[in-house]
Symmetry: C2
Amino acid sequence: MGINIYDVAQNAKVSSATVSRVINGSPHVREETKAKVMQSIKALGYTPSALARNLSTGDTHNIGFLVPDIENPFFSMILSGISKAADEYGYNIFIFNTADDAGKECRFLEAARAERLRGLLVIPVDSRNETTYKQLRSFVQDGVPVVLVDRDLRDGRFDGVYSEDFFGSMQAVSCFLEEGHRRIAIINGPENSRPGNERWRGYKEALSKWEIPLQMQYVKQGDFHQERAYDAMAELMCMEHPPTAVFSSNNLTSLGCIRYALEHGLSIGEDISLIGFDDIELLQAVGIQLSVVDRDTSQMGWKAMKLLIRRMHKAGEDDTAASEIYMPTKLILRGSEKWRRSHGTV
Amino acid sequence: MGINIYDVAQNAKVSSATVSRVINGSPHVREETKAKVMQSIKALGYTPSALARNLSTGDTHNIGFLVPDIENPFFSMILSGISKAADEYGYNIFIFNTADDAGKECRFLEAARAERLRGLLVIPVDSRNETTYKQLRSFVQDGVPVVLVDRDLRDGRFDGVYSEDFFGSMQAVSCFLEEGHRRIAIINGPENSRPGNERWRGYKEALSKWEIPLQMQYVKQGDFHQERAYDAMAELMCMEHPPTAVFSSNNLTSLGCIRYALEHGLSIGEDISLIGFDDIELLQAVGIQLSVVDRDTSQMGWKAMKLLIRRMHKAGEDDTAASEIYMPTKLILRGSEKWRRSHGTV
DNA sequence: TTGTAGGCGTTATCAG
DNA sequence: CTGATAACGCCTACAA
């Protein structure tokens, strides 16, 4: 590079201050000189350095996004929503793939601090991680707003965009109950994540409303990944009284369940009922009608970014209460929740 | 914020230069003073500003990644590979979702220039776009290396990481031919993309080797998306002499083909044969055995980043010839390439 | 081994 | 409306 504001000033025979004014659209510049400057800028192919500008104004247009796994389509959708809003408002995005590693998360937050990012969008690795919590708190205290997405962090003093996991889950399980199911299994999400916990709560709540006792043999701990769900299914289906319905608490676990069913000749929606959390577009293409608790994932990212922008624009008023947005879920019934009742021994 | 190198210096009773030396691990600092400084840094919670540092050294640790569609799992995998390598070498990633829009691409490149990024990884929107070409050339001339990924740009004067699309495609079609197919259709990719063109070339080459005349009625223009492929399939299967095999030139088009087949009661691997380009992990979970031309996508991102890093580390030697890396493809046969020969009229 | 001082490219505050 | 000039936070000769 090399060409700077002085070069332009010299070329246009004005001072650097004037060039700066032109760049920033100050109204106090004569049209004539403005034109001159513009011309020089074009001629020299000058692009102002955001670095210098930021240093001078102490104000970046960059935000950070910490995500546990970019390969997961769910997070890609969130990113998509974020980038849409960011683009609209002229923000750049630093992306940090924490790869579900709290250590990396910590390191990335350091990097974020060094870069003097203006705000942070984060999907924490571990809902209970003390270090993350402290780091994020200190960001907020330093006037760098933080918005959590999908997963929360401890006592909820952060802004966040979540979805109504509890309600969605309850609705799904209630649907099973109305359908006549009484032995309903759940493949749980990790305990250290808000979505995992809330969906588990919803499950219990639905049972309780129907006065069905909670039977722990139908509760399988999962990790939001396919393999574990597959194994859980195996265990469930080998029981003396296997469940007639399974509630799978995220998209990947649903796949594990489906794979097990297919491999073992179980027809979904007949031999075994299944409702998943989060839709899987691909399934439609391959003719599998999975009922799911759906939500607008991309919209979650979008809203999170919008919220962050709002916070960034009105700094100072820190001690506003944390604002939490809950995205509605929608139960989409496609048939997999049904069953051939004769098969089950109620 | 506010706390800077001078605050630390004062606290440690040394000069700012010494603090700087400590930060940058200069060997010319007495252990004693170093300890003092470190302590002050901790005590004050000081984090050096990357902005100021960059401005001073004229040297960022940030690179940019321009991607046409983050929602596409193929690109997510590339990003995953990139971020792995970036993390390893301490680079931060600016992500720009061009959303297949050349205008955005242009704007993002401007932003990248303003941010004084150290290097660029780009998957161009349009292989023939003149503006993009010029912008990227000027980056290279200014010492900002550019590495293309998957898609190229015009006359190939850029570094790039591609895959052996031509060979992979030829292999797939040859497989069909060996299997006895003679009416082989192709769902093409967009003409303005290298992968699209190369796969199309491979198709023709295979036919030509087997001295099978090219029949344009079996060639359908696609756009790498599901819908168009579905429609193409519809047209193909309604012909008097429908193809017995279809080569689908990317993952999304394969889905369109599969959806069509399933919806119309065509058994893949019996009534109709299908080979796709790029594997789709999910299909395995749902029991669909699709044969595909596979490649290590994440590895492509990784290699691209490594190449970029190499370029960034040895600036100056600009006029080295562009280095192009071609990732091998692998034909994975799972059965969908087979057919019940009786069905087709050869 | 340590300190002084100038520069990196902008913006912003004053005068004029 | 325009031009000096001092920050912004750090690095790096050059001196000491």
